[in-house]
């Protein structure tokens, strides 16, 4: 029996996939990342959500070693982000570009494969991502979605321990999006840590073990999708537009809220339980309203996101 190491804090093998403390990044007078702290566990999918300009890409690019932080510390698999020892261990997918426009898809993927000691078969990866027919197509002639998929293929071909995916499904059609989700799920199942950014709430909700919402360069929420959407429930139904909700509100327990948004869609929030349901259906009966699609559900991640980050356009 070997003695157990009593200090494992410095052991990179046990380090989290990503550990960020008080990260600051400025561009001139703009502070893109403003004291951000977060930890991404190994073998989990972490989704970083945030409006445009929230600091997602800056944070990711610092983790990828492309940019130097102005403050704070970042460790990737326990190492400094620009440590070259990380390069074979970390796969990355940029938001766009990175491939010579004239390079043929298959040839470029094979070139990247040859930088690694035990790469996946490029042909199998092209097949998985539906790119086999485009293997001889120059990158610039691929559609946006095909370029994205090629970029994803290159991120994983070296069998990395950790992948950073910057908006992996932006601009993909539904089929391609599902194929991409399948890859991400398969990566996680195989023990790969995944950190991705996205604008798509359904994607974050379906795929990720953990969601970090950032805004103005700071973390504003952090947890599992379930914990973020929380215990708060809503009762929703559809009916003819313009119902007078005042009478309903008077009948509901204090602290409840009722609104019509959008027109013809009604949302009742508060202590959603049997009592509230009975009150609402009774009110519907007196109003002569046949409520359609009546259902009780949790808030969606999108609701949470808009609550946290506001509704103004960025």
């Amino acid at each position: 029996m070997r003695a157990v190491e009593d200090d494992t804090s410095g052991d990179p093998a046990d380090a989290p996939a990503v550990e960020i403390r008080d990260l600051v990044k400025r561009y001139g007078r703009t502070t893109a990342v403003d004291g951000l702290s977060l930890t991404c566990a190994r073998r989990e999918v972490t989704a970083i959500l945030g409006p445009n300009g929230a600091g997602k890409t800056s944070t990711l690019e610092i983790c990828e070693g492309f940019r130097r932080p102005d403050g704070g510390t970042v460790r990737v698999l326990g190492l400094e982000p620009h440590d070259r020892a990380l390069r074979p261990r970390v796969g990355i997918m940029l938001q766009a570009g990175g491939v010579p426009p004239a390079a043929r898809a298959g040839e470029w993927l094979r070139t990247v494969a040859r930088f690694h000691s035990a790469p996946l078969d490029p042909g199998a990866l092209l097949r998985l991502l539906g790119l086999t027919e485009h293997a001889r197509t120059p990158y610039r002639r691929l559609s946006g979605g095909q370029q994205q998929r090629l970029s994803l293929a290159a991120a994983v071909i070296g069998r990395p321990e950790l992948v950073f995916l910057d908006e992996p499904t932006a601009g993909l059609d539904p089929q391609a999006r599902h194929a991409c989700w399948d890859v991400i799920t398969a990566l996680r199942d195989a023990g790969v840590s995944v950190v991705l950014t996205t604008h798509q709430m359904d994607e974050a909700e379906k795929l990720s073990d953990r969601v970090v919402v950032i805004d103005h360069g700071r973390v504003v929420a952090d947890g599992t999708p379930q914990s973020l959407t929380g215990a708060e429930r809503q009762l929703r139904f559809r009916a003819r537009p313009g119902l007078d909700l005042d009478e309903l509100l008077a009948a509901l327990p204090p602290g409840s809220a009722a609104k019509e948004s959008p027109s013809g869609h009604y949302i009742i929030e508060g202590l959603v339980g049997p009592q509230l349901l009975a009150t609402v259906t009774a009110w519907c009966a007196t109003e002569g309203v046949a409520a359609e699609d009546l259902r009780i559900e949790r808030r969606t991640l999108e609701d949470v996101f808009l609550e946290l980050t506001g509704r103004e356009l960025r």
Partner: protein
Amino acid sequence: MTTLGFTPDFAPRPGAAPLPRMVLAQAGAEVRATLRNGEQLLLTMIIPILLLVGFSVAPLVNVGSGARIDFVAPGILALAVMSTAFTGQAIATGFERRYGVLKRLGATPLSRAGLLLAKTCAVLAVEALQLVVICAVALALGWSPGGDPVWAVPLLLLGTAAFSGLGLLLAGTLRAEATLAAANLIYLVLLGLGGVVFPLSAFPPGVRSALDLLPISALTGGLRSVLSGGGVPGGPLLVLACWTAVTLGLAARTFRWE
């Protein structure tokens, strides 16, 4: 799109390939890119061959006493080196920077030193191809090189290094479009002033001694000397060594990868 119900084994097995394999893979990609690019082929093959044939067949310039082809062929060899190591490399690298290719490659196990080595290998491979074609055409036109062509090798290598430094200096500092314009302009100016096909003896002595310090003049003059029986090309090698040190040194300090 069909997912075949087959998923590759994504279980992590990270590791960098041995450096030679990485460098060869990248160099191969760069050679393919050069040979498939129409503009690059025009620059590296077609223009030198046209100039070689045109200036050795037609009495366009006065080259002195010897055979016209014996004067033109070494100049065209120097031009070939300049077109690949300088113009082609500057333009290609400038656009690689613009398209984020250099940034993306930086995230692979291929180090920057490895990338530069791959670029050098690719340049040398394309040059070897150019030399074979140009020499074949020149010999067919009656070229009879003399002397000890072994000294041509250090001239060609040092010329390649000096022009690579100049090309990377442009590509690493200017925008891609500016690099494209500057690289073509400098190519034309050096083609005209560097003794490629117009003899430097046509210039006034004061101008000529300044022109002799250009890297292209050193390469054309040196090649002409060693390929017509001259001795060790000390002067040209020194000029090229200085250009190499200055341009590669500056490029190493100023090169921006993004």
